[in-house]
C-alpha cells in the first residue's frame, strides 16, 4: 500500500474522511496529503462549503408558486364536499 494517497485516492475518499469512517492509517494519509496539496485542499473546502451554499441558494422563495396554491385550492375544495359525493 502506498504511504501517501494520490489526488485521485484522496478525492474519492473525502466524504468518508469527513464522516470519520476511514481506518486510521488512511485518515492520516489523507490528512497529510491535504496539508501538502493545495488543489485537493481546495477541493475538500469546496465539498465542505457546498451544503451551506446549497441551503442558502435553495431556500424557499417568499411566495409559494402557483402549483402549490392550486394544490391547496384542490384540497380545500375536497374538504368542502360532503363525504361520499
Amino acid at each position: 500500500m502506498k504511504l501517501l494517497p494520490s489526488c485521485h485516492d484522496v478525492q474519492t475518499d473525502l466524504t468518508e474522511y469527513a464522516e470519520g469512517t476511514l481506518p486510521v492509517s488512511r485518515r492520516l494519509g489523507i490528512r497529510l496529503h491535504l496539508w501538502m496539496c493545495w488543489v485537493c485542499a481546495a477541493f475538500a473546502r469546496g465539498l465542505e462549503a457546498l451544503p451551506g451554499i446549497a441551503k442558502t441558494a435553495l431556500a424557499p422563495p417568499p411566495e409559494a408558486p402557483g402549483a402549490a396554491t392550486d394544490a391547496l385550492a384542490q384540497v380545500q375544495l375536497a374538504l368542502r364536499k360532503p363525504p361520499g359525493t
Binding site: H8, T21, A64, A67
Partner: protein, 205 residues
C-alpha cells in the same frame, strides 16, 4: 375596533373541525416551505404537486392528533417530506451512476495526481453570491444541477446536506447500507461542485 386575527392554535382547532377556510389560512404561510421541501426530493413539477396534495390531505386528517409539541410548520414539513418519499418509492427510475469518474474532479496523471492544477481555482470563496441577480443565478444553477442528478443520488444529498439527516437514518429510510449512502452522497457532491464551479467560472469547464 378591529377583530384580531385568529391564532395558529385557533386555526388548527377550526381546521380540525372541518373549516376549510381555516385550513387554508393555517397552511398558506408555510406553503412555500412545504412545496420547496417536496420539490427538492422529487425534482419534478407534476410529482411535486401530487405529493403536496397528498401531504395537505394527511396534514388535515392528522390535525386532531397534532399535540403542539413542535411548531406546526415543523410538523407539517415532516409530513410533506414523508409524502415526497412515498411518491418517490412508488416511482421506478433506474439510473447508472456507479462509475468511478463521478467520484473526483480530474484530470489526473497515471499516478493519480492532478494534471494542470492551475485550472482548479478556489471557487468556493467566489461562490458566495451577493447581489439578488447573483443569488437568483446561483439558485437556478443549483436547481438545474440538482435536477440533473439521478434520483437515487439527489435524495441522499437532499436528506443529508439540505435536511441535515444523519447518515444512518437515511440508510434506514432508503434501505441502503451507510457505505452506499456515503458513496452516493460523495458522487452527488462532486457533480454539484463541478456544476457550480463551471457556473462561477462563467461556463468554462
Amino acid at each position: 375596533m378591529t377583530e384580531s386575527p385568529p391564532t395558529e392554535t385557533e386555526l388548527i382547532q377550526r381546521a380540525a373541525e372541518g373549516d376549510s377556510d381555516a385550513f387554508g389560512a393555517l397552511v398558506t404561510p408555510h406553503l412555500s416551505l412545504f412545496h420547496n421541501g417536496i420539490h427538492r426530493i422529487l425534482g419534478n413539477t407534476a410529482d411535486t404537486q401530487d405529493a403536496l396534495q397528498d401531504a395537505l390531505m394527511s396534514i388535515h386528517r392528522d390535525l386532531p392528533r397534532f399535540e403542539g409539541r413542535s411548531r406546526f410548520s415543523s410538523w407539517g414539513y415532516k409530513v410533506c417530506l414523508n409524502a415526497a418519499l412515498m411518491v418517490r418509492r412508488s416511482r421506478v427510475r433506474i439510473h447508472d451512476m456507479e462509475r468511478s469518474e463521478f467520484l473526483t474532479l480530474g484530470p489526473f496523471d497515471d499516478r493519480g495526481h492532478h494534471l494542470e492544477s492551475e485550472r482548479l481555482p478556489e471557487w468556493q470563496v467566489e461562490a458566495q453570491a451577493h447581489s439578488l441577480v447573483e443569488q437568483q443565478e446561483m439558485r437556478e444553477c443549483l436547481t438545474r444541477a440538482l435536477d440533473e442528478l439521478p434520483d437515487s443520488h439527489r435524495i441522499v444529498f437532499v436528506l443529508k446536506d439540505l435536511e441535515d439527516w444523519e447518515t444512518d437514518d437515511i440508510a434506514r429510510h432508503l434501505q441502503l447500507s451507510p457505505g452506499t449512502v456515503r458513496q452516493r452522497l460523495h458522487r452527488a457532491r462532486v457533480l454539484l461542485q463541478a456544476r457550480l464551479r463551471t457556473h462561477v467560472l462563467g461556463g468554462r469547464p
